[in-house]
């Protein structure tokens, strides 16, 4: 029985990983209209009300929608990543126990968590990409610089993973009967302190709020998006954003994977 002494090959763990990912993609594909409604509605309304309605009525300055659009891309990436991961995870661990079949697949438990993060990030990236045509449709035109696309992509990937990381931490920390209260306590502040509706440097007149927003990692996604699409608007330096995002991501993923192990193995 020489096979027993050798570790399970990385190839077979990769096979299990890709099968689990395929399962998630299959379910998303089967429920595509639900997915689209879920990810598009909120940013669509924000965009429509703040970018279109208020502008048409003259309540916002000309150019506000240019500033808002990159912020909403950041918002969509982070929130979609978080929602995709956190809600189902709480339900799977708490009620349906659907995750057990994947936890018993021949792959390391960390890989099951990693698949969750990858899948949530993919969904977040897709949802954010969909916001671009939606933005053109609602606003007539969006701020766009081809030279800013590489930075946009980096911010998009980091923002989506950041959302997924937040989702992993929340999804493993929250017990099912607390899900509503915890999510409203986390979700609303995250939504409004992430600088998606205003550039961070402009908050210098509201110093305390500037400090609060600096603590929300989503701020750095919004600022990077603005740096990519509307660099003329004052923004936090790109390198600062990248460092903070990579730092927060490592902390969240470490905490999240630890939480995942706690829930997966008694």
């Amino acid at each position: 029985m020489s096979a027993v002494s050798t570790p399970v090959s990385p190839a077979s763990q990769a096979r299990a990983f890709s099968a689990v990912l395929r399962r998630d993609l299959y379910v998303t594909w089967k429920e595509l209209p639900v997915f689209l409604a879920q990810v598009i509605l909120q940013p669509l309304f924000l965009l429509f009300v703040f970018g279109k309605v208020l502008a048409s009525l003259g309540y916002t300055q000309h150019g506000y929608s240019d500033l808002l659009f990159p912020g909403l891309l950041a918002l969509t990436a982070v929130i979609t990543g978080m929602q995709t991961l956190a809600f189902p995870l709480v339900v799977e661990f708490g009620w349906t126990r659907e995750i057990e079949d994947r936890l018993l697949a021949p792959m390391s438990t960390a890989l099951v968590a990693a698949e969750k993060v990858l899948f949530a990030s993919l969904r977040a990236i897709t949802a954010t990409a969909i916001m671009i045509p939606v933005g053109i449709l609602v606003l007539g035109s969006i701020p766009w610089r081809w030279s800013g696309v590489p930075l946009l992509v980096v911010a998009l990937v980091l923002g989506s993973m950041l959302g997924a990381g937040l989702g992993l931490v929340l999804g493993t920390a929250v017990v099912p009967n607390r899900i509503n209260i915890v999510f409203s306590l986390v979700f609303t502040p995250l939504l409004f302190t992430g600088c998606s509706q205003y550039p961070w440097p402009s908050l210098s007149r509201l110093r305390w709020f500037q400090v609060v927003t600096a603590c929300n990692p989503m701020t750095y996604v919004s600022e990077s998006m603005r740096a990519a699409l509307v660099p003329s608007v004052p923004h936090i330096a790109v390198w600062v954003c990248t460092v903070v995002l990579i730092g927060s991501l490592s902390v969240l993923l470490t905490l999240g994977v630890r939480g995942f192990y706690r829930r997966a193995i008694d």
Binding site: M1, V4, S12, R15, Y26, V27, R97, D101
Partner: protein
């Protein structure tokens, strides 16, 4: 013992290695003052059906949890074949399958997809998975509704689906946690038949149950668990043979007003001819019923012949017999004999 039955195929060419082995296995959950599993040891031979029998909270599910990589042992060792479960959980998972107490089917996808995705997780090629799924769906009577999502199904159907799913990657050891709890009699017989077929194909089965009938019917050997310990482990026949006497006589006696029983009553009963041992049973107070004293006599020979002498003996002490039950010893009696309590 079971492994050498004719027709059993050993999946493991090295007959020396047990299919499952636990050694001084201990689990203590954080903040718990006692061990949920308290230093148990046993070995299961390939192809054997091994039952863990005990009341809820005895530590059966935790034992299964440790063997199936979902519960981390506090100390001791759990092996699946030659794989140390704690040291190499990934490989252990490829060798085993679990049918849990409560449905954990994937409700977002059809029954058939539940089976084929499970196979894909375990690296079974797609064509082979499709073939096995068709075969298992037919065998488990699920073919007609194979393309329906599982949340519409009854407990018995969910149980069948989970067993079918578990078999998709052809595990060497199949764990079933309370396989027939909550099933109607027909569904239970169906599941039992499928489990016997698996046993005949050489799959090692480990099941937990608090149903002594299930343990006696299905298991080659039974480990009786209580408070995290294995109290006895043998074939059902040997366990029952280990009881004093060859049959039992259970008496219900209307006790005195104060619920008391005359001193020396048990000793007097023990002195009757043919009585091996006498056990006072836990009272099961009914609503508004007068206090009962229940006692079980383990008897050599015909238990019915003892009814008249015991009735006379009780009447002499001013006690009235209110119920008599004759029985052959069961695993339940073994449990009562070992713990002084009933299984539920």
């Amino acid at each position: 013992m079971a492994a050498n039955n004719l027709g059993r195929v050993s999946l493991n060419d090295s007959s020396a290695a047990p299919a499952v082995e636990v050694d001084e296995l201990v689990k203590r959950y954080p903040k718990s003052p006692v061990n949920a599993v308290d230093g148990i040891s046993f070995a299961v031979t390939p192809g054997e059906v091994f039952g863990l029998l005990g009341p809820n909270g005895a530590g059966k599910t935790t034992t299964i949890g440790m063997l199936t990589t979902r519960v981390r042992p506090t100390s001791g060792r759990a092996m699946i074949g030659r794989v140390d479960v704690a040291a190499d959980p990934v490989r252990a998972r490829s060798l085993l399958a679990v049918v849990p107490q409560r449905s954990n089917l994937d409700r977002s996808i059809s029954i058939r997809r539940n089976l084929t995705f499970h196979a894909a997780y375990h690296g079974v090629p797609a064509a082979e998975a499709t073939r096995r799924a068709d075969e298992l769906l037919a065998q488990f009577g699920l073919l007609e509704r194979a393309d329906v999502k599982p949340d519409l199904f009854s407990g018995g159907q969910a149980q069948r689906m989970m067993i079918a799913r578990a078999l998709m990657h052809e595990p060497q050891v199949l764990f079933l946690d309370e396989p027939s709890t909550g099933l109607d009699p027909a569904a239970r017989l169906f599941v039992w038949d499928r489990l016997r077929e698996l046993r005949d194909r050489g799959v090692t089965l480990i099941l937990t149950t608090h149903d002594m009938h299930e343990a006696a019917t299905l298991a080659d050997r039974v480990g009786i668990m209580d408070h995290g310990k294995v109290l006895a482990l043998d074939t059902p026949e040997a366990l029952m043979r280990g009881l004093p006497g060859s049959s039992t006589l259970e008496l219900s006696v209307r006790a005195f007003e104060n619920g008391g029983v005359p001193a020396g009553m048990i000793e007097s009963l023990e002195q009757l001819g043919g009585v091996e041992q006498v056990e006072s049973l836990p009272d099961e107070p009914g609503d508004g019923q007068p206090a009962q004293w229940r006692v079980r006599l383990y008897v050599t020979g015909e238990a019915s012949e003892l009814i008249a002498p015991t009735a006379t003996l009780l009447a002499d002490r001013g006690l009235a017999l209110s119920g008599v039950e004759l029985g052959a010893p069961s695993l339940e009696d073994v449990f009562i004999h070992l713990t002084g309590r009933t299984l539920r």
